[in-house]
Structure formats: structure tokens, C-alpha cells
């Protein structure tokens, strides 16, 4: 084995040159001959029956292609998990912006006026907009009881702990919706020909999700649906499920018109109509010993799924499983539910339920600390999980993770103690208050429980006619480095130069289903399959006597070329095998929830300006154990980017709702941090390896989303001596809180 390891090196980004020269082809850059442009007529009310549709004057309607639910060849739904979400509403609508009709025309600029000119009369029905309204059941808007899904996780005997408790601490924590705000808006192009079927090109994360949805919608067999991913300008989960809807719309217009159709959302439409992070409410009730050890507790975790089920059950699952944080719970009951409201369905966004429940857990730990009379550091140290102990789902921690040591390192890196002392002394200055806060957490990589088994991912590696390697996966690149890292893995596995490996465009005609690009699974799970598929290439060449064991790169290339000349197409496949020692019980919701957890401690130092009530993050330390860092530059980039989104989640990004509709659906009014708002974010890694991941890697894509919000809000709460339990935490909220502080005394968690 060569000592020049490609793994662990920051090799050049595979598609980097095209990105910095503007050559990358995103969906709106592609033009097909005779192409039409499509647009969507959407509901203006949150709930009601459609009575009449009128096409207004002043529009040459004969020039337009018009599609309604009646034009759907197959099933009028966007197939995902349940099939409750219609592709086009026909009799009733259940949320603002719900798609009703589709229009297409050769002139893109005529569409907005045409959309405006479609008049829809409704018989409005009462609508609900909050989790509390949904729970009250005054209106049933979904199923029998507004509940998409529930989970119950139980460990030990929770009901027995209360009488033994020296302290009982309660708290309620809420998080708001968050818009993914990828800088490239959603878009799709579809073309239909009777012989070939439907082809779609688009900005997307999961080609096979769309493939499945189009089969059902268009009533076409698998080989007559083709999905091709274009360069995708950011996704973060926001292009996991919604692209299926857009692909469906473009496909219907293409089928009806016989021409290619391009649908590109503008920013206002994308923000208002597509998915956002599920709002959440978590209630904690915790029993502690006099030494501050957790004896047990109840956690009530509720998320708002919007009008249709879509992915809410899976978000709920991850949120519920992470709700206990990186702590040892001898007894626990976690009740989780996802409820329906009349908002556009909420969906996947980096973290997928965990940022919500972990925000609550880490805020709650600080509350517990205060109630029990220990420092935020000490309360965590005493309750951390140790190897050999089990999580809330009774998964035994088998790796030698030392959380107290990780915490100590984070404290050292952030100068926690000396800063905290300094702040305590300096905070008498009247114009600002400084604080420093901690968040400790974990993030499970890969699909939950039996998910990976169910996915049964397949990966291919091809030996090409020119002697290079091509990786065949449906895993997509959207900035996180999929193409680069999978190429590294294949190159490393076969001891070839990195430059000799490429990744095929994600085209369902060409690549197998390696599962969706979600759940931080790509490097860890798919990467491992790439490794074994690559080794399969080598195996074949060696057993064909074209290659010896100790080959050079040149010899490999020659052997590969020879093989192709003789045998034609040269591909090696690898299918996911669930690890023998990973068991999950779907009924009891217990067991090994994830093949691997990554662990982290984040520390945020903030200044609250008492003149403007705004919070500045002055320093941020992100320390995480991630198995193995395969590409230092990409890994660091992922963490910094995720922390930036977490800072946005906690301090800047508020969705302003009005009757289920996002009012601030413009970049002017939905605020994400710009370059002048963020400090340099300092990133550090530890590596314990991971037997279930390629070269020891664990997933890291979503991990950085979990820590920033609680660390920051803990810091602000400490700085001001006021408990904040809700995000986003805006200056307006801080002002109101301080104003009421002046009149009344604050009550934090009860002490039993």
C-alpha cells in the first residue's frame, strides 16, 4: 500500500473548476428546442372547497397549455411514504399555495399575468394554524384526529422516579419554521415522447424519489421514466421531496403539450410554497438526585407537519430518538407526535428533527443546572453517556467515546473559564452584556433503525474503456462534496491516482439506486459500498489474470482497457448488507437506532447590545468526533456552513405567518446572516473511527445544525440572567423580555 494516502487529503473538488468559471450547468441554464415554460396556479386560501374556476379576460388562453387534476394519467398524488398529498388539488384545498392548475406558454414573461388572471371561487372552511389548535380538535383537517404519526419510547420505569427525586425541573421549548434558502431556486425540465417515456432534468437530491413518484403519477413502468440531476445550487433537505412535485407538474405539461416544459420558481414562490423545517414544541419534566444525576424524565415532542403527511413521520422519528441528548437516562418516556395544520407541508431540512429536540434538551440542561445549583459544565459532566451505557432506545455505546474529555477540550479551545470570569466582572458596563454557552450533543448517521436495510442501496463502479474508473451512484452532489469524496474512496481502495476517478452524472438510466442523498449517509454508507464495488473491479481483473496483486497505476489502466476490449461493459456492483450486530425493533421503537453516532460539544461567546437588543456571536468553537476526516477542507466547510445555518436558525430567521401563508417570502424580509454577521467559526475534529463507515467515517452533514442554537441561547440567557426558551430569538423578543423583567421577577424551572 502506497504511503501517499488520498484519504485524509484535501484533493481538488471534482467539479470545482466548472464552478469557479461559471461553466456548471444548473437546470435554468439548459434550453431545449421548442421548450415551453410552466407556471402553477395556487390556492389563496388555507382550506376550502373549490367551487368554480374562471379564466379571466385579457389573456390569449388558446396559446396556453392548461393542465388540471383530470389530466393526470395515473394516481393524483406525489408518492412518498403515505399517498395523501395530491399533485393537483381537484375538489378541495388544504393549505395556501396548494397547486391547483398548471399553465405553459412559449413566452416565460406572459405566465405571471396569466396565473393572476385565473379566478378561483372557494367555499372556505375553518382552518387551523398552530399545534395547539390542532391538538384541541376543534377542526379536524387530517385523518380522524389531526395526527400524522406518534411514537412512544420507553425505558426503565419512569413513573417510579418522581418520589425519589430531590429536584424536579420542567420546561417548554419551541422552535420556529426555517426556510432552507438554497441560493438556486427549485426548477425542473420535463420532456415526453411516447416511445421513451418521461425524462426530467432538475435541481434535486433524490433522483429515485422522483422516479417512483412519476411512475405512479403518469402510470408508466420504471424503464419509461428517467430522472437526471443537473448541477444543484444548494439543497439542505429542501430538495429532498418537493422536487417530485415540480417534476410531476412539468411532466404533466410535457405530456399534454408534446413539448419540453421548464418550470423555474422565482424566490417569492419558492419561499412561500415549498417545504420548511418543522416547527416544534418540546416539554421536559425531569427528576434528579441531590447530586444532579438524572433519575428519569418525560419528554413530550410535538412537530407541526403542515397539511399533508409527506416526511413528517421520519422527521418525528429522528427528533424523538435524539430528544434525550448525549446523556444517560436510566428511565425515560418520550412521547412524540406530528400533527396537521393548514400550512404548506413542512419537510426535510438539515438535521431533520434533531435540531429541534436537541435545542430543547440543551436549553433544559442549563435550566436544570440552575435549579440544582451546579454549573452548566458540571451538570453535563455528571450525566454524560459512557461506553457500556445505553441510550434512550437502549442502544449500548460501544465505542470509546470520552464525553467529559471532549467537553474539557472544547472548554480549553474556547477559553471558557477565563472568558466566563471576565464577563462576570465586565458585565456591569451598561451598554452590553457578554455570555458564553455550551451545547453537547450527538447525531446518528444513516437512516434510522431498519431504514438502511429497507433502502437496500446498490452502488456500481465502472472500469472505462480509457482505463479510468467511474462511480455509479444516485447520490447527488449539491456542494457537500459527494463527487469528490466518493472518488477519493474509490481511488484509495484501488491505489489509483485521484485524477483517474470520476462520478457519473446522477441519471436513473445510468446509475443504480444508492438511496437518497439525505441523513448524512453518503460518505458513511454509500462510501463503504463504493469501496467494495471498487474492490470488485480489482478482483475481476486479478482473477482474469490481467493484473497482479502489486500493480502500478499504469498497469491497472492497461488491464482495465484490455478487459473492456474483450468483454465490453465492465461494471462491478455492491449492495448494502446490514451489519450483523445492529438490531432495531420497529414495534417497540427500541434497539440500535443508528449504526454510528457522531459526538460534539459547541461553545458560543456572544455580546448582547443593550441599546439595540441584538446579539452578536463573537467566537464560536465547534468540536466534534466524526470517525475519520476524509477530506479536511470539505469537512471544515461543512461544519462552518452548518454552524452558519444554525446561527441563522437561532438569531435571524423568522417565518412571519399570516393565515398559514408566509408573509415575508422575499430575501429582503427573510434574513439569513451575511458575511459581516458571522465570526470566524473555529472547527476541530477528533477521530475514533467507525467500523460501519468508509475508512472509518461517520456522517457529518447534519451534525453542525444541532449545536449552535442551544449554545447561543444558553449564552444569551446567561448574559442577561433571563431564560429564553424559544427560537428564533430576535432583538424584539429580548427587548420585550427585559422590559417585563423590569416589572416582574422571572420564574425559571420549578424546583421540587
Amino acid at each position: 500500500m502506497s504511503s501517499d494516502s488520498i484519504i485524509g487529503k484535501s484533493v481538488p473538488r471534482q467539479e470545482g473548476r466548472d464552478k469557479v468559471t461559471g461553466r456548471s450547468q444548473y437546470v435554468d441554464d439548459m434550453v431545449l428546442p421548442n421548450m415551453l415554460f410552466g407556471a402553477t396556479v395556487r390556492s389563496r386560501i388555507p382550506r376550502g372547497r373549490i367551487k368554480r374556476i374562471t379564466f379571466g379576460a385579457g389573456i390569449a388562453w388558446d396559446e396556453f397549455v392548461i393542465v388540471s387534476a383530470k389530466d393526470i394519467p395515473g394516481k393524483n398524488c406525489i408518492a412518498l411514504i403515505g399517498d395523501d398529498q395530491p399533485c393537483l388539488a381537484s375538489e378541495c384545498v388544504n393549505h395556501p399555495e396548494e397547486p391547483i392548475l398548471l399553465l405553459a406558454h412559449p413566452d416565460r414573461c406572459l405566465l405571471p399575468k396569466a396565473v393572476e388572471a385565473v379566478a378561483i371561487e372557494y367555499e372556505p372552511l375553518p382552518a387551523i394554524f398552530t399545534m395547539e389548535e390542532s391538538e384541541r380538535l376543534s377542526e379536524i383537517v387530517w385523518g380522524a384526529d389531526n395526527i400524522f404519526k406518534t411514537y412512544l419510547i420507553e425505558k426503565g420505569e419512569v413513573d417510579d422516579v418522581w418520589e425519589k427525586a430531590a429536584y424536579m425541573v420542567e420546561g417548554e421549548y419551541t422552535t420556529g419554521a426555517q426556510e432552507q434558502l438554497y441560493i438556486e431556486n427549485n426548477g425542473m425540465i420535463a420532456a415526453f415522447e411516447a416511445a421513451q417515456g418521461i425524462t426530467v432534468w432538475g435541481s434535486l437530491q433524490c433522483p429515485y424519489y422522483i422516479h417512483k413518484a412519476l411512475m405512479a403519477l403518469c402510470n408508466l413502468p420504471a424503464e419509461k421514466v428517467r430522472v437526471v440531476q443537473m448541477e444543484t445550487g444548494g439543497a439542505f433537505g429542501g430538495k429532498e421531496e418537493y422536487p417530485s412535485m415540480i417534476a410531476a407538474h412539468a411532466a404533466l405539461l410535457a405530456i399534454k403539450s408534446g413539448k419540453p416544459v421548464k418550470i423555474i420558481y422565482d424566490r417569492m414562490e419558492d419561499m412561500a410554497a415549498t417545504t420548511k423545517r418543522h416547527p416544534s414544541r418540546t416539554r421536559h419534566r425531569t427528576a434528579l438526585s441531590k447530586d444532579g444525576m438524572i433519575l428519569g424524565g418525560e419528554i413530550d415532542f410535538t412537530i407541526d407537519g403542515g397539511a399533508y403527511a409527506t416526511l413528517s413521520s421520519v422527521v418525528l422519528s429522528r427528533g424523538a430518538i435524539h430528544a434525550g441528548g448525549p446523556y444517560y437516562w436510566p428511565n425515560i418516556r418520550i412521547r412524540a407526535k406530528a400533527v396537521a395544520t393548514n400550512a404548506p407541508p413542512h419537510g426535510a431540512f438539515r438535521g431533520f428533527g434533531a435540531p429541534q429536540s436537541l435545542f430543547a434538551m440543551e436549553r433544559h440542561m442549563d435550566r436544570i443546572a440552575q435549579a440544582v445549583g451546579l454549573s452548566p459544565v458540571e451538570i453535563r459532566r455528571r450525566n454524560f453517556l459512557h461506553p457500556g451505557q445505553s441510550t434512550t432506545t437502549e442502544q449500548v455505546v460501544r465505542e470509546p467515546i470520552d464525553l467529559p474529555k471532549l467537553l474539557d477540550r472544547a472548554l480549553e479551545l474556547s477559553d471558557y473559564r477565563s472568558r466566563k470570569n471576565r464577563f462576570a466582572n465586565e458585565n456591569n458596563a451598561s451598554t452590553s452584556r457578554k455570555g458564553i454557552g455550551i451545547a453537547a450533543f450527538l447525531h446518528g448517521a444513516g437512516f434510522t433503525g431498519s431504514g438502511e436495510r429497507y433502502l437496500s442501496s446498490v452502488v456500481g463502479v465502472e472500469g472505462c474503456a480509457d482505463g479510468t474508473l467511474r462511480v455509479l451512484v444516485s447520490s447527488t452532489e449539491f456542494g457537500q462534496g459527494t463527487k469528490t469524496v466518493l472518488s477519493q474512496i474509490a481511488a484509495q481502495a484501488l491505489r489509483l491516482p485521484y485524477e483517474k476517478v470520476s462520478v457519473a452524472q446522477a441519471d436513473t438510466l445510468e446509475v443504480p439506486n444508492s438511496g437518497p442523498t439525505v441523513a448524512s449517509r453518503t460518505v458513511m454508507v454509500v462510501g463503504k459500498l463504493v469501496q467494495s464495488a471498487a474492490l470488485g473491479i480489482k478482483q475481476t481483473l486479478i482473477s482474469s489474470k490481467l493484473l497482479k496483486d502489486d500493480y502500478t497505476a499504469g498497469e491497472f489502466s492497461v488491464a482495465c482497457q484490455e478487459y473492456v476490449v474483450t468483454h465490453g461493459q465492465f461494471r462491478s456492483w455492491s449492495r448494502y448488507e446490514p451489519p450483523a450486530d445492529v438490531f432495531w425493533d420497529d414495534e417497540k421503537y427500541r434497539g440500535e437506532a443508528y449504526a454510528a453516532f457522531a459526538w460534539a460539544v459547541y461553545v458560543a461567546a456572544v455580546t448582547v447590545d443593550l441599546t439595540t437588543y441584538s446579539v452578536a456571536v463573537d467566537d464560536f468553537v465547534a468540536l466534534q468526533e466524526v470517525g475519520k476526516v476524509l477530506h479536511p477542507l470539505l469537512a471544515r466547510g461543512q461544519i462552518i456552513g452548518g454552524v452558519a445555518q444554525g446561527i441563522g436558525f437561532s438569531l435571524y430567521e423568522k417565518v412571519v405567518w399570516q393565515n398559514g401563508r408566509m408573509r415575508n417570502s422575499q430575501m429582503t424580509n427573510y434574513i439569513i446572516p451575511a458575511s459581516t454577521d458571522l465570526p470566524p467559526i473555529r472547527v476541530f475534529f477528533e477521530e475514533l473511527g467507525n467500523v460501519h463507515g468508509a475508512y472509518g467515517a461517520k456522517g457529518i452533514g447534519e451534525l453542525p445544525m444541532d449545536g449552535p442554537a442551544p449554545a447561543i441561547v444558553n449564552a444569551v440567557s446567561e448574559a442577561l440572567g433571563v431564560q429564553f426558551d424559544s427560537i428564533p430569538l430576535l432583538p424584539e423578543d429580548i427587548m420585550e423580555s427585559l422590559a417585563s423583567e423590569e416589572s416582574t421577577a422571572d420564574s425559571s424551572g420549578k424546583i421540587g
Binding site: Y613, D619, I671, D677, P731, E732
Partner: protein, 462 residues
Amino acid sequence: MRSHPSDFEMIAPGSLHAVVSLLTREPGMWLPIAGGTDVMVQYAAGMLPSRKLVSIWNLPELRRIEVTASEIQIGAGYTYTDLRNHDIVRREFPLLHTAARWTGGIANQNRGTIGGNIVNASPAADSLPALLVYDAELILVSVRGERRVPYASFHTGYKKTLLAADELVQAICLPRRFAEHFGYARKVGARNSQAISKVCIAALGKVSNGVVEEIRIALGSIAPVPLRLAETEQAVKGKAIDSDLLLLAKRAAAAEIRPIDDIRSSARYRAAVAGNLVAEFLNRLGAAFAETGEARDFLVRWNRLPVDKAISLILSCCGSKAWAHGVVSRRPLADEAALLAASHDAWSSLAHADWNEAFETHPRIGESRASQASPQSVEWSAEEQRNVQQSESGVQKALADANREYERRFNRIFIICATGKSATEILEILRRRLKNDAATELHEAAEQQRQITHIRLKKWLQ
């Protein structure tokens, strides 16, 4: 894009005369458009009622500035970038200069114009409060000629102005009598850059014989128009600045403004922050007139010292004799800003040997003395490295080791502007810079020295 370009028409006649003639011939038909940073947003949203536009972008009659002894006349077509780059605007009208820096990002500053800001008349417009406190007058032009109106009367209601249908704003006139005033401007938005203001303030003041002699306060985003707080000014005028006055001013301001709840913020927040900003202004006004006397005196005296004495005094800020010479040769220096500018200029013309001379007066990070340091320099070094002295012993040892490695590699001490940085941050930076090649590292060290000098000069004045 929610408008169809074929429904719209734009012409660019190329001269002010042609434009105003058009506005007279076809009144109400043509919307003047300069940089387009407001109009084009409405257009893209499908919300622009005007179908005919006449371009006034880059008209030489409008994109100019005239300076006389008594006033400056800024053409309405002057962009924010133009304002930022103009020396007199920077020196004599700093509140307007600051407002130009606040407006959008660089791209929008390159196209947005002061005239557009005024005529668009959003109460949240960044430059309008500054114009109010600077007693701006507008020159309005039409075929009938020019007329001058006080800017204070220009806004008649929410997005309503005095402008006649056939008129354009030609220029904004600012009297040159505010150079002695203390100025204060602050914008509060949802983020640090590129944000529509929730509240913004521009204020000027003068203190004489311990009481407020002159005071002007204007706020944006707290009423349908940018508002001069006349009543608050009355309440404060002639009084001494103490904590009672701050409270009084806060209350007066809260009573005078009319903020609303909107998509960006709440009335209560705006009211609270507006009060805080007024109080902050008064606080700083008081401090400036208490200090400025002393600071000015010191500089005045230093300006008069013989060259070698002046050099020896300033060397504690930066140990390069060539630099000290450079600064001293630029005397007399009027104020802190002039001093810092002189330092920057002097630093830019130094040779590498001079940089090294400056470096040698610093102690190693984590230690206390350098061989060539003055007592003042030693004291400042101690302050700058406070965080390091108080850090964990493990970190201190790592720093000491890394320092030694640095010295072995680069043959001089590791220079870093330590103020505000934690020990671990410094260690991280040190480790990164150890990987630099020699040339790169020299440049980095020089930049750090420049920052240190900057901080020390400010302290030196106090």
C-alpha cells in the same frame, strides 16, 4: 420576473433639459429612473404601475458635486459610492458618509443615488435623517426653472413629497457649518449589512459651558416620514448632560415618534431602541466635549514639539524610527482621524528593515519584556496580552513552544495583534502562520504590526 418587458418602455434622452421637457409635455406619463435599485425591484415583482420610464442615470448635470466656501451641492444623480469617495463629504458631513456606507451592499451603492433615496421617500431610507440634521435644501428643477426648498418640508406624508409632476430633484445643498459639531449616526437593521432599517438616527450636537448649546436629532423608520425630533431637542437644549437628562430625552423621544408594527419589526421595539439611541447620542456628546478638549490639547502641544522630541514620544506606539519620522513629518495633525491617516501613510512607505525594527520592540507573546521596548510600550504589551497571561498553563506552554519554533523558522519574534483574542485563538493562528513561506509571513506580520500601532495610537491620545 413578474412583468413582461414588452409592456414597458424606457427612453434615455441624455440631458436634463430633454428630461424635464418631456415631463412637461406629457405630465404624469413618465417615471424617472436613475440607478433603479428601488424601481427595478417593484418591476420584477410585477408591482410597477408606470409603463413608461425615462432614464436619468449618469446625467452629467445630476451626477456631479459643486463645492463653494459656504455649501456643497450634491447632484441628485450622485451615487452612494460617489459619496463615500468624496473627501469633503467624508470630513465635513460624516453622517451622510456613514449613511452611504450603510445602504445595501457595494453593488447597490454603485447604482443607488441620493436623489433616488429622497424621491422614493421611504421612511426607512438611510440617508434622509442625515439630510435633516444638516439643514439640507433641495434644488428642484422643471422647464419653469429652479426652486429651492428646505428639505425639512419636502416630505408631506407617507411616500408623498412636494415634487410637482413635471419636476425633478436636481441637487441637495448642505451648508458647510457643521465641522465643529459632534456627529453620531447609527442604523439598526436585522443584520449588519444590507438590511432595511428598523430604526436609524443621525444627530449633531455642541456643548458649551457645560450645557447643550446646539442639538439636532433625526430618526428614520419611526414615522411615515423621516422625522426631526423638534420637541426632544427643545427639552434637551440648554441643559447639562447627566443621567436625568438622558432619561428625560428618552421619554420625550418616545412621545414624539409614531412607530408602527410591520413585517420587519414592532412599534414597541422601535420605540425602545429609538429612546436608547437618543440616550446613547447624548451620552457620547457629553463624553466628546469632556474629552475632546484634553485630546485636542495634547495633539496641539505635540504638533509644536521639536522633531526629535515628537519622534521619541510616538515611538511607544510603533518602534520603527522611519515610521515615526513619517508621521512627524506630516504634522500638524488636527485630530485622531488625521493621526491615524498619517500613520497608515507612513507605514505604507516603509522598507522591510523598518518593519523588523518595529517587530523587535515587542515581547514574545506570553512573556513580559522585549529588549528594545519603552516603559509605555511594555505596559501596553501587557494589556494587549492579558488574555494570554490569564489562560490555562497547558496553553501557555504550547504557546511558548510554538513561539520558539516560529523564531527558529523566521528568525524574529511572532507578531500578532493580540487585543481581544483568546490564547487558544492566538495559538491556532501561530500554528497556521508557521506554515507560511517567508515572504507571505513577513506581510502578515507587518499587517499585524499596523493593527497594533493603530490601537496604540488611540490610547496614546488619551
